[in-house]
């Protein structure tokens, strides 16, 4: 296998050790469990804490996003596997005396089941915690069934905007309300170009022909709109943007925050070309862009591909989006 690792069953723990060592000025292990990563310095108990549990193998999300203005903690599962509800509970308990806690959940079956279990157990322990289920991937469920969609790269808007607001002392309900609002105004569509290699199976995660791309494919190779021959960036972007525009109604003078996420080995050169074509598409409809994000943030090992996420924003969202944050791997 062409991966630079040590023991296969210690990949995640080794990675976390490297992460905590490399960024020891900003993050640390929980004293209770090395799968719970916390800010080096805990904010006071008046803060509504934000955390998430998720499978690894998609770095830098979410472990790299711990810091002021973003997450308070991340509970880390094995490769592509949500951490168990019991472990997430441990993470929540780190904030048991806080005014409130929000467990973000990206809408994937394992994350939801385990997240809901954790919430149930935490509420039994009288912790003031709520969950916020995030979804945005338009290829995973039709219009009208938005809440059955999966969490994609667009969940980033929720992390960042709630991260900034919670830092200012907002309470749980205010955060949840804004979170819902962000989710309702976010759309994501992704495309797979070629598969990376899973460090567990040592095999390709999915199969694509030499001249094929797959629009709407999930991070593990699940299907969406289907296969097509690879064509120019302009063509692909038009196809994808048309789908997004079918799904949500954008209006003249809307201000959207675009996020082009690379899934691993797609180059920054490509991502920037893609961004150019997206902005040109938006401009044609007289839609404005605000502080776009273009980089690799949610990856699936060394897969090639990308996703387009758009948040139709209001003033408050934009203010919070551009707030600085100190997380080691999130940069605005």
């Amino acid at each position: 296998m062409k991966k630079i690792i040590n023991k296969k069953n210690e990949i995640v723990d080794d990675m976390l050790m490297g992460y905590v060592k490399a960024h020891s000025d900003r993050v640390k292990f929980s004293s209770k469990n090395n799968r719970i990563i916390l800010r080096k310095i805990k904010k006071n108990e008046n803060k509504t804490s934000l955390l998430i549990g998720n499978g690894s193998g998609h770095e830098p999300i979410a472990v790299g996003w711990i810091g002021e203005g973003l997450l308070d903690a991340n509970v880390v599962g094995d490769i592509f596997a949500a951490p168990s509800g019991d472990l997430i509970l441990e993470g929540i308990k780190e904030f048991k005396n806080n005014k409130g806690v929000i467990l973000l959940i990206s809408n994937h079956a394992g994350d939801v089941m385990n997240g809901e279990l954790a919430i149930e157990l935490a509420q039994n322990s009288k912790i003031n915690v709520s969950s916020l289920i995030m979804y945005d991937d338009i290829a995973s469920a039709p219009k009208g069934n938005e809440d059955q969609r999966r969490g994609g790269a667009g969940t980033t808007f929720v992390y960042k905007i709630l991260g900034a607001l919670s830092e200012k002392g907002a309470d749980k309900d205010e955060l949840l309300t804004l979170g819902e609002d962000v989710i309702n105004n976010t759309r994501t569509l992704s495309v797979a170009v070629s598969s990376g290699i899973s460090p567990i199976t040592e095999k390709k995660i999915f199969e694509l022909d030499e001249d094929e791309i797959f629009i709407g494919m999930g991070v593990h190779g699940e299907s969406g709109y289907g296969r097509q021959k690879i064509s120019s960036s302009k063509n692909i972007i038009k196809f994808m943007m048309d789908k997004i525009f079918d799904d949500y109604s954008y209006n003249k003078n809307d201000i959207v925050i675009p996020f082009v996420n690379g899934s691993g080995s797609t180059t920054l050169m490509e991502l920037l070309i893609i961004y150019k074509d997206i902005e040109e598409y938006l401009t044609k409809y007289n839609i404005n862009s605000f502080k776009p994000l273009v980089n690799e943030y949610i990856t699936t090992q060394d897969s090639a591909g990308f996703s387009i996420s758009l948040l139709k924003s209001n003033d408050i969202m934009r203010e919070l989006w551009k707030e600085p944050c100190s997380a080691p791997y999130f940069h605005i």
């Binding site: 094995d78 079956a109 999966r150 899973s198 995660i205 299907s223």
Partner: protein, 200 residues
């Protein structure tokens, strides 16, 4: 009873160890390729935890075993597959047959609730439900082990012709059609050993 359970878990672990690559390959085709590795990890942990807690009563042991399985397995399968291990601790040595029906009934209820899953969705549930139906016909288990094994086998194989409505396979182009559900397959091995260990 504790000895039977110890044996059940050991045997399950051995059998899965022999074929976990096959399970990974199945999951590679319709999931993310880790089901064999995951369930093997869970069973190895179960074996260890069982031994460590052997001084306790069976229901205590199995509730610890189930929680630890859930913890090390993570994902959907950890939380769902540990349910049977948890429920199995409630066996009543004085009325095994009746309590087994209850165990399976509770397992089915909890899997349905947690997994938001129904019969025919291509999952572990498709092994539990036909078995529960059979057990509900008031048979004497010890005299019908062959039938039970047959039901377990055929119901897990019946998932080959199902299109997934849960799990990762749900998002595939063909929804896993033509491939046996890896979770159903591993469940069939575990359940077969459960009955064998109780009655043989």
């Amino acid at each position: 009873m504790i000895k039977n359970y110890d044996n059940w878990i050991k045997k399950s672990c051995q059998n899965i160890n022999n074929i976990y690559h096959e399970l990974d390959d199945l999951d590679q085709k319709i999931g993310d390729g880790d089901h064999g590795t995951t369930i093997l990890k869970g069973l190895k942990e179960a074996e260890k935890i069982f031994k460590e807690n052997i001084e306790n009563s069976l229901d205590v042991i199995m509730s610890i075993v189930a929680k630890q399985m859930r913890l090390v397995m993570g994902g959907s399968s950890g939380i769902l597959m540990s349910i049977f291990f948890y429920e199995s601790g409630k066996i009543n040595p004085y009325n095994i047959s009746l309590s087994i029906v209850t165990i399976f009934q509770n397992t089915v209820n909890k899997i349905k609730k947690t997994g938001k899953v129904n019969v025919g969705d291509k999952s572990i549930l498709d092994v539990y439900v036909p078995l529960l139906d059979y057990l509900n016909t008031d048979i004497e288990i010890d005299k019908n082990l062959d039938s039970i094994n047959k039901i377990i086998k055929s119901s897990s194989e019946s998932t080959i012709n199902m299109e997934a409505k849960v799990g990762r396979a749900k998002f595939l182009e063909k929804k896993g059609l033509g491939i046996i559900d890896p979770g159903a397959y591993s469940t069939s091995i575990i359940l077969k050993e459960f009955f064998n260990s109780l009655y043989k």
